[in-house]
Symmetry: C2
Subunit: 113 residues, 2 copies
């Protein structure tokens, strides 16, 4: 599971943490509902989560589009905007669980947050 966070919104640590938590629960929920074949091994291997960063909306949405095109489990997170940032702003994208090589293809150029 990979979670990608936008840095250009200048979110604080707590806001970033809540967006990552939203993404992780959203991916887990959709993986359960779709009987994702990678879910069991992900659960058994300590539910690994890698947190990456991008510096723009455009890069974030292009990674998400790539994930959907490749039939990966993926989600977008939009903030309710009660604090810090504009309501509805896209803050994060989550991808997985899935084959590591499939996710890597989309995210290998991105840096760790």
């Amino acid at each position: 599971m990979v979670i990608i966070i936008r840095t250009d919104l200048n979110m604080g640590k707590g806001k970033i943490a809540s967006q990552a938590a939203h993404a992780a629960v959203s991916l887990y929920e959709s993986a359960l509902k779709s009987s994702n074949p990678h879910l069991k091994s992900w659960l058994l291997s300590g539910q690994p989560k890698v947190i990456l960063k991008v510096d723009s909306y455009n890069v974030l949405i292009s990674v998400y589009d790539g994930a959907k095109l490749n039939n990966l489990n993926a989600c977008v997170i939009r903030d309710a905007g009660l604090t810090q940032i504009e309501a509805g702003a896209l803050t994060a994208v989550g991808i997985g669980p899935g084959k590591e090589e499939d996710i890597d293809k989309l995210t290998k150029t991105l840096k760790l947050l």
Copy 2:
């Protein structure tokens, strides 16, 4: 759902985000398994997650003990320690979903991360 992060470990933003994501999935998983009566309303209200901070192991574990004593859904997160911090270190505690007043009793003195 409240997630409490230790600040005394000096974790980076990405590490904090992954600990919060671990806690959120863990709470969601246990809430599903235990048919937590607060799960549905939490899901329908946008799955709110509040990220708080403590500055020591002792405070963190006392909040967790309080949650268990009050029969709240709660989890501890320990880091695999592959990066940044000692393996097995307790990094975060999650509580909820539950009655807001029950969680507030335990966490109202803690500050937002």
